[in-house]
């Protein structure tokens, strides 16, 4: 498991491209060339992540969020062009000062149990999250940033108020699943603790009360969860009758299961299996994802040991000594792109493509370090501030495998510039990093990864001083950056916000708390039984849009 961005933000997406569209690689076994669409059938999907809880206030896995996307309404979703499209909200406007947003919602909608689904359910959900944002619903706090309350003016009008203008309103509400008030209100009483005690699982006779295109009729955390078509859903009915999301704890097993027709599709294919699946004449879709790998240089202002690592020249030398092409070719078998900024290309226009990585140039790196008078000792290791440039690299378990190979490449190249790296596998990396008392004092370097949402607000926030002890894994803290972050958060004008987001990306790139090694591709695969999958940066089963499982149909 990677250090995925968890919490209510898991959403994100990017290029939502219909199957047969813009995937960078495909071997199509069975397309459905314009014939009549055959309804019905059971789609069997392998899940490597799994649904850790049916309760949106507990679940943290990507599959959990994809499940909530399909069983609950959200106000908006992403369309194929990464623009916001209607979901439960048909249209939206905001006041001139940006402090009130009005959403017109679906008329005559009902939950799967036949009870009315109205703007009041949405107001209940938002107000509950606002009320308990410091305790039980804190995991979703980012989605309700600066919200003060939500009011249902009538059955189809929802007004959300803010304490200050908020730039990422639509990106945030896209991540909030609207819950049925008649089911959840009893758990939101008092201190709200019961919200996290409610399992929200189906029984033999009663599915989870749903307002999305599917309802879960059978839930098994380490088995198969069954999604049946919700006959009451307000939107376009899905073509398939049901979907089974089958949990696999072993990637080889899911690849084998796809090859032997035991399942129909895999959400996330390990790179070494791509050729195997292509050779078996299965469809393999490769596209940009939001996941990227980082080489982290501890930037904490409290850190006193090995001060040379705070020197921008040393950091620049390190980047010159990183051979991204070799890492991509060897560690990721070509299924990745060179990394630059903390906002990945999967974020679409938010990604600042004008920022370019430094080229791999050992001579340049050596020249910089020579210029700093870090001379080599008898063992070839340079000496800085009286000690050898030997550093441990914290290495969380989630990075094992391909990450090991990436480390070996970096280690070997750093040897050439007189810097010795020692891999230090760790459990609980985050606790080691933040110690003591969120001062990030006891380590030098690390390797890890991020999977941020499509809107850049979250990943930008992870670099602020306020994130020390929360999401920060670099100790980076710079008032000028914090100012930029705050400004972009309030910039309701998209052009202005883009400019501020770009400035923030450039600042982090120049300061190098991270050297982004590579952006990973998302790799999905399926057999010829079904077609019409809709791809996104989260694959065909994600938390960005309901479109994929609505469009997919028997071939």
């Amino acid at each position: 498991m990677r250090k995925s961005f968890i919490g209510a933000f898991v959403a994100s997406a990017v290029v939502l491209a219909a199957c047969g569209g813009s995937g960078s690689s495909s071997t199509t076994a069975n397309a459905n060339p314009g014939g009549p669409i055959k309804d019905g059938g059971t789609l069997r999907v392998a899940a490597y992540d799994g649904i850790d809880s049916m309760n949106p206030f507990i679940g943290v896995n990507d599959d959990s969020y994809a499940t909530y996307e399909y069983i609950y309404p959200q106000l908006v979703q992403y369309d194929a062009n990464q623009a916001f499209a209607p979901d439960f909200a048909l249209s939206w406007t905001h006041s001139k000062d940006g402090l009130a947003w009005t959403f017109k919602t679906q008329p005559n909608a009902v939950w799967s149990d036949g009870k009315p689904l109205t703007a009041a359910d949405a107001a209940f959900t938002y107000n509950t999250m606002i009320k308990f944002q410091d305790t039980v619903t804190a995991g979703s706090a980012g989605s309700i940033a600066r919200m003060t309350d939500a009011k249902a003016i009538d059955d189809t009008t929802l007004v959300i108020h803010f304490s200050a203008p908020e730039a990422a309103v639509l990106g945030n509400v896209q991540q909030v699943s609207i819950l049925p008030e008649h089911i959840w209100a009893q758990y939101a009483a008092g201190d709200g603790k019961a919200l996290k005690e409610f399992a929200n699982t189906p029984t033999k006779s009663t599915p989870v009360v749903s307002g999305g295109p599917f309802m879960v009729t059978q839930y098994d955390q380490t088995g198969t969860t069954i999604f049946m078509k919700n006959p009451h859903w307000y939107g376009t009915a899905p073509h398939i009758a049901e979907m089974g999301l089958e949990y696999f704890s072993n990637e080889d097993a899911e690849v084998t299961a796809l090859k032997t027709n035991s399942i129909d599709a895999i959400e996330s294919v390990p790179p070494p299996s791509v050729k195997t699946l292509q050779d078996a004449n299965l469809t393999v879709k490769i596209g940009p994802s939001l996941t990227y790998r980082t080489f982290i240089i501890n930037s904490s202002p409290y850190k006193t040991k090995n001060p040379e690592l705070q020197d921008p020249q040393v950091r620049m030398a390190f980047e010159y000594a990183i051979d991204r092409a070799s890492i991509i070719k060897t560690a990721w078998l070509g299924y990745a792109q060179p990394g630059t900024t903390i906002v990945p290309p999967g974020s679409g226009s938010w990604f600042d493509s004008s920022i370019k990585p430094l080229p791999f140039d050992i001579n340049q790196a050596n020249s910089i370090l020579d210029g700093l008078n870090f001379t080599r000792g008898s063992d070839g290791i340079r000496v800085a501030n009286g000690h050898p440039m030997t550093y441990e690299v914290l290495f969380p378990g989630s990075e094992r495998g391909a990450g090991d190979r990436a480390f070996q490449i970096i280690q070997s190249d750093f040897q050439q510039i007189g810097v010795k790296l020692i891999q230090k596998p760790v459990t609980g990396a985050y606790s080691i990093m933040t110690a003591p008392d969120n001062k990030y004092e006891n380590w030098d370097l690390a390797m890890w990864s991020w999977t941020p949402p499509i809107d850049p607000d979250f990943i930008l926030s992870a670099m602020t001083c306020q994130s020390l002890g929360n999401w920060s894994d670099s100790g980076y803290c710079k008032p000028a950056y914090d100012k930029l972050y705050a400004q972009q958060g309030k910039a309701v004008d998209p052009t202005e916000r883009h400019d501020l987001v770009n400035q923030a990306q450039q600042m982090v790139f120049d300061d190098r708390p991270y050297i982004i090694l590579n952006y990973n591709d998302t790799i999905n695969a399926w057999n010829g039984n079904f077609t019409g999958y809709v791809e996104s940066s989260q694959g065909f089963f994600g938390a960005l849009t309901k479109q994929s499982l609505i469009d997919v149909h028997q071939a």
């Binding site: 968890i6 919490g7 933000f9 059971t42 069997r44 850790d52 809880s53 049916m54 309760n55 507990i58 410091d134 305790t135 039980v136 804190a138 995991g139 706090a141 980012g142 940033a145 996290k196 005690e197 409610f198 399992a199 699982t201 059978q218 098994d220 955390q221 380490t222 088995g223 198969t224 069954i226 089974g244 089958e246 949990y247 696999f248 704890s249 072993n250 080889d252 097993a253 084998t256 299961a257 090859k259 032997t260 027709n261 035991s262 378990g397 760790v426 459990t427 609980g428 985050y430 606790s431 080691i432 933040t434 110690a435 979250f458 926030s461 992870a462 306020q466 994130s467 929360n470 999401w471």
Partner: protein
């Protein structure tokens, strides 16, 4: 004699109790030496407030001094309460969670172990009986090979070889029609059980073969075996009646000890085949730093090892007159 027997049993029980207590204590300390906790993961949300961290810390009882957590832990254990899972769905009580998982592991592991015992004893006896023959060489070398293969590798090979022929994932077919009978469901579960059980059997049988062969060879060299032969008993008769029964002493110990390690062995096999047992639950608890479940799983492992060791001691006492004499 009776007093001696009672004394022996009491001593064994006492030492088993001490072992469990020490293991329980180490279990408690070890997991708390690891960096991080569920709170450090769960509190990782944007702008997590100090209030949230305090709330989570309080929720999981981590705000109390270590000794107090230990006393609470012992008190809860005495009542079979192992706390609540920090991660599993809706924070289930650990014992409830693990009990369900254990119920899935036991039939699969028991079947695998039973097959291993039968094949191991059979091949061990035949190897010893045909010592030096081609059969002996083949049987012994195959047993050594299976004994040496890493469990997860063996399981993966089975998965690759039999995928498409036998189910390779989970415990049952989730798409079985709701109205199919119990017998069909039973057969479906048995089909899913074949590969994980086979992996279990192949992992264990090699060791059984080698121990049985060695014990048999030792027994076959005894004077009473020579006497039996001199009396004109057939070669197979000697093996069956005199040698095998006596060779069962070390085998009994080995089987009992093997049963104790079912939980440990299940971790790798269940992870490969996604068998929803205690092994997979342990793996998931490691990944998510779910200390209460880990503690519970290790406690189950400890108790099962100690219990089956105790069982082996008591069986030995019963089977071997030299101990009770």
């Amino acid at each position: 004699m009776a007093v001696r027997g009672t004394d022996y049993v009491l001593k064994r029980l006492f030492f088993a109790g001490i072992t469990v207590f020490v293991a329980v204590t180490i279990n408690f300390v070890l997991f708390r030496l690891l960096p991080g906790s569920a709170v450090s993961n769960l509190a990782r949300v944007p702008h997590a407030s100090a209030a949230l961290k305090a709330e989570l810390t309080r929720e999981f009882g981590l705000d109390k001094p270590m000794w107090q957590q230990y006393v609470i832990y012992l008190g809860q254990l005495a009542h079979l309460h192992m706390g609540v899972s920090w991660v599993s769905d809706s924070h289930q009580p650990v014992w409830t969670y693990l009990r369900g998982k254990l119920a899935n592991t036991i039939p699969m592991a028991a079947l695998g172990t039973a097959v291993a015992i039968v094949i191991g004893i059979g091949s061990g006896v035949v190897s010893a009986w045909r010592r030096g023959s081609k059969t002996d060489h083949v049987s012994t070398n195959v047993a050594i090979a299976f004994y040496a293969f890493p469990t997860q590798w063996l399981a993966l090979m089975l998965l690759i070889l039999f995928a498409g022929v036998l189910p390779v994932n989970g415990m049952h077919d989730p798409f079985l029609a709701a109205d199919v009978g119990g017998w069909t469901r039973f057969l479906d579960t048995m089909r899913h059980m074949i590969l994980p059980s086979l992996a279990f059997a192949l992992t264990l049988y090699g060791e059984f073969t080698l121990i049985v062969r060695s014990a048999m060879l030792e027994t076959l060299g005894e004077d009473y075996v020579l006497t039996a032969r001199a009396k004109g008993l057939s070669s197979w008769g000697v093996v069956r009646t005199h040698a095998t029964r006596n060779a069962m002493l070390p085998t009994t110990t080995l089987i009992a000890l093997s049963l104790g390690y079912i939980v440990a062995g299940a971790i790798l096999i269940e992870t490969v085949f996604t068998w929803p047992g205690i092994g997979l639950a342990t793996y998931q608890a490691v990944v998510s730093q779910d200390y209460p479940v880990l503690q519970g799983a290790f406690l189950v492992l400890t108790i099962s090892v100690v219990f089956f060791n105790l069982l082996a001691d008591l069986l030995y006492f019963k089977l071997d007159p030299r101990i009770s004499a």
